[in-house]
């Protein structure tokens, strides 16, 4: 089972004093001390892991964030940042001896600048909230995780979140221009801004996706995009998984980058259809939704190409949406895939590997074997354009041993993804969920290099420790050079 950093008894014994000190920094209801109220924060979207934080702090100004962090650094107190708590990898799992720093009160859109196609927002604004603030003018914020109603832009920055439109429009990292961030030392720094590229070292580039380990983000500048003129989708059924995979490969080989390409396997199709009656064909092994967006002339031309490619790859059914109602119906099943699976199974766990697309059929067969071996069910939804696979492992936590079987099954699936040339996580992050699997992808030197980056930002490992890296090393220890003068012979190299 998962081990977290040993509790710091010295900190726990000072708990009351710490709460009082924090109250002096964040007055009123900003410090939550009562056990029942703290329990509301005990987990994020990966709810099989829970821990009640020592204290919850909900600051509402940057100055408060800076003072809280400085105080915690001085007192050697651990801090876990939290947005909306929808994360699926346990990144916001509290520490029992730590401060849970909730950013929910940072919920304002600060500046909308259409002339520069960007907006400045506080990190607690929801992903959809940004689009809602600009859609009246025909704009939107492109990355669209399925959790977009609830998840915050601060969480998106921490996880480098994606969505169904990533292949064409990029992940969070490609759509964030700048952040203001507070380091564990309480320093406020600004990285990037309304201009392109940070200049100097791209610290912005590493802060995005750093899972709350490098600093607490207090402001985000995002790119705004003009809404496409139109969007149309094709719904295609295939007799085999290979045919579906080949169809995607051919679409891309012909130079078409659709706004979204989603694939579902038979169990996912059946669960979704039973739930929302989207009109999906049930006698197919794989179902593809290909959405094209952009200028009408282009979309009309390319949708016909996609339809042709689908037929060339043995599609048994292919339907092009005529109007937004029908397009939304195609999506309804896919968007409800998680709750749909939730209806056919008491519990499910969502995995998130990325694989080279050409390995799809092989990997899906492998997943099915793995699931059988562990005695659990599995349904697959797939961001097919970029190879990001979401196997949903079906189990019943109330049955003896099934949770452990499901976890083992998940780990085996992710190892398979790495074995075929893929990666452990495409958009949900490592957190605690994939932490102990990191060595499947990275060797000791790879991990040490990453941890040293952390040392440059947070040398005492106080910010979100126990996440991402399987082992905690002291920065002083890792800072040592492995080689010493004279020990390494002059290399035998050709000279000129």
């Amino acid at each position: 089972m998962l081990t977290m950093p040993a509790l710091d008894q010295a900190v726990l014994s000072r708990r009351e004093g710490i709460v009082a000190d924090l109250r002096a920094i964040v007055p009123g209801e900003g410090v939550i001390d009562a056990l029942e109220e703290r329990r509301a924060f005990e987990s994020d979207g990966l709810s099989i892991y829970r821990a009640i934080p020592m204290v919850v702090v909900l600051p509402s100004t940057v100055d408060q964030v800076a003072r809280v962090l400085k105080y915690c650094k001085q007192g050697n107190i651990r801090v876990v940042p939290r947005g909306a708590g929808t994360g699926l990898s346990g990144g916001a799992l509290p520490l029992e001896d730590g401060v849970l720093l909730g950013m929910a009160k940072f919920n304002k859109v600060l500046d909308i600048d259409y002339a520069n196609r960007c907006a400045r927002v506080q990190p607690g604004v929801t992903n959809l909230g940004i689009t809602q603030a600009v859609q009246h003018a025909g704009f939107y914020y492109a990355p669209d995780p399925s959790s977009q109603i609830a998840c915050t832009i601060g969480g998106n920055v921490a996880e480098n979140s994606g969505g169904v439109h990533c292949l064409k429009y990029g992940l969070t990292t490609n759509n964030v221009l700048g952040v203001e961030m507070v380091t564990m030392a309480g320093e406020i720094v600004r990285l990037g801004g309304k201009h392109l590229d940070a200049g100097g070292y791209d610290l912005l580039g590493v802060v995005v996706g750093s899972e709350g380990l490098l600093g607490v983000v207090t402001e985000v500048t995002v790119r705004l995009l003009r809404k496409p003129e139109t969007a149309r989708a094709v719904l295609v059924g295939f007799p085999t998984l290979e045919d579906g995979g080949n169809c995607v490969a051919q679409i891309i080989a012909e130079g078409i980058i659709p706004g979204g390409i989603e694939m579902m396997d038979k169990p996912a199709i059946h669960a979704a259809e039973a739930f929302v009656h989207a009109g999906y064909p049930l006698d197919v092994e794989s179902l593809l939704i290909v959405e094209l967006d952009g200028p009408r002339a282009e979309v009309d031309e390319l949708i016909a190409s996609v339809d042709r490619i689908a037929r060339e790859n043995n599609a048994v059914s292919s339907r092009i949406s005529e109007g937004d109602d029908e397009r939304m119906r195609f999506w309804a099943g896919r968007k409800a895939a998680f709750p749909a699976v939730g209806r056919i199974s008491p519990d499910y766990m969502c995995m998130d590997g990325t694989i080279p697309r050409k390995k799809l059929a092989e990997v899906l067969r492998g997943i099915s074997d793995i699931a059988k071996r562990h005695g659990v069910g599995v349904a697959n939804v797939f961001h097919a354009g970029d190879g990001n696979l979401h196997p949903l492992i079906l189990f019943d936590a109330n049955k003896e041993g099934e949770l452990i079987a499901a976890e083992k099954c998940g780990a085996d699936i992710l190892r398979l993804c790495v074995d075929v040339g893929g990666v452990l996580t495409g958009e949900h992050g490592v957190g605690i969920e994939k932490r102990d699997l990191m060595p499947a992808m990275f060797d000791e030197d790879d991990l040490a290099t990453q941890m040293r980056l952390k040392c440059a930002f947070d040398p005492d490992a106080l910010l979100n420790p126990g996440k991402v890296f399987p082992q905690l090393h002291r920065c002083a220890e890792m800072g040592k050079m492995r080689v010493h003068k004279g020990q390494v012979p002059f290399p035998d190299l050709p000279r000129f």
Binding site: D202, G255, P295, K358, M441, Q450, G479, R495
Partner: protein, 400 residues
């Protein structure tokens, strides 16, 4: 004595040795950007040009992996055969540095985080850099990122290494994302706009649904130097808007853009070859190169702020790319080559002295001096990756 590793193993040995001896290294691959950065260079060269080739190109997966010193020319030719591109439109600064054309390597383009006009739509080199293996200043070999287009496993070290000018790690193999090439390209030109009006016109185009992939402004004196007759013969400033895509799509979008941009001034269309030529000139800064004695600045700011940066140096030659967000300025080398007024002309952004004499690059910060908090983080990062300060020390910032 210079070092020339044959492979990754040699590279690792060489850096481990240099780290042990505290011997600083001047890292060179194609040498196409030797004049970029501060002039401070260690005496010992590490020639990594042998770390090239071994290309694994998978067009359907949209990825290409190769040795970091693989010539850009070789990669672009290979991609062309499958109608794909590096979407960040890497510039060719051969002429800018007075060298032969197309002398750069993929590692160099990533290390300097370059990007052309398409930056506004498709991102910079950093956005297409998926993974690498390399050696840190500790002489340890490590890898980061992956070989798939979507990956959030661990820190995004490719972003950190992109633009770090070889001061954090020496990269030996890289994986980049590739994208389909557009079948057609066309541009709409608007004539005779003042700078602020031109930025407004570019914003109008960029804020339209017509998926603009280039938006630049050439003042009259600069436009006159173009090799594209419609531009040089305009007798007025030229605002250029590019669209790319299928023939049908490009025609429809150009028509819509001509209508909306027509409210700003007289418009004309540039087709295929002429459009390609114009954007290559803009990408490679060709219109500012005739005066080889001038210092060249590259300034990234919020697009609406571009004209104010240009106005900071009266009489200088300049043009705007990225809808106004990228200002290229040619200033006389005298004094600080206007570093003071240029850097004082914006609050947020950065100015890089892309080309200047060694003397000027020693006097004036080549890269934008960071705020103290960021500078401290930079020093911390450098100390972690290269504690002995042996990788291109001083090339970007003094002491880093």
């Amino acid at each position: 004595m210079d070092l020339k590793p044959r492979d990754a193993k040699d590279l690792c040995d060489a850096v481990a040795w240099a780290a042990a001896e505290g011997e600083a290294l001047d890292i060179v691959a194609g040498g196409s950007k030797a004049a970029l950065g501060r002039p401070e260079r260690p005496g010992r060269k590490l020639d990594v040009s042998a770390l090239r080739g071994d290309i694994e190109y998978e067009p359907e997966e949209l990825v290409l992996t190769c040795g970091a010193a693989t010539p850009m020319r070789e990669i672009l030719l290979l991609l062309e055969q499958r109608a794909q591109i590096l979407a960040f439109e890497p510039p060719d600064f051969g002429a800018l540095y007075g060298l032969a054309p197309e002398g750069g390597t993929i590692g160099g383009a990533l290390g300097a985080n370059l990007a052309g006009p398409r930056r506004i739509k498709m991102g910079a080199a950093r956005d297409h850099f998926l993974g690498f293996s390399g050696v840190s200043g500790r002489g340890e070999e490590f890898k980061a990122g992956g070989r798939v287009v979507k990956n959030v496993t661990g820190y995004d070290l490719p972003k950190l290494v992109a633009g770090s000018m070889g001061t954090l790690a020496i990269v030996d193999r890289v994986t980049v994302k590739v994208m389909p090439a557009a079948a057609k390209t066309r541009s709409v030109l608007v004539f005779g706009l003042e700078p602020a009006k031109a930025v407004a016109a570019m914003a109008d185009a960029l804020n339209s649904p017509w998926e603009v992939s280039g938006a630049a402004y050439l003042p009259e004196a600069v436009a006159r130097r173009s090799a594209v007759d419609h531009v040089s013969g305009a007798g007025a400033s030229v605002t250029a808007i590019r669209v790319e895509g299928t023939a049908v799509s490009v025609a429809a979008r150009c028509e819509a853009l001509r209508t909306s941009l027509g409210t700003f001034g007289a418009v004309e269309e540039l087709h295929s070859m002429r459009s390609v030529k114009l954007w290559r000139e803009i990408r490679d800064v060709a219109p500012l190169l005739p005066d080889t004695s001038a210092a060249l600045w590259r300034v990234s700011v919020a697009p609406t702020h571009g004209p104010a940066v240009a106005a900071a140096v009266p009489g200088a030659d300049w043009f705007l790319d990225w809808g106004g967000g990228l200002v290229w300025l040619a200033t006389p080398e005298a004094g600080d080559a206007s570093a003071g007024p240029i850097r004082a002309s914006f609050g947020e952004g950065h100015a890089t002295l892309m080309r200047a004499s060694a003397g000027l690059r020693a006097r004036v910060p080549v890269f934008e001096p960071p705020a103290p908090g960021v500078a401290a983080l930079n020093r911390g990062v450098k100390a972690q990756f290269d504690p002995r300060g042996i990788l291109n020390p001083g090339r970007m910032f003094e002491g880093i």
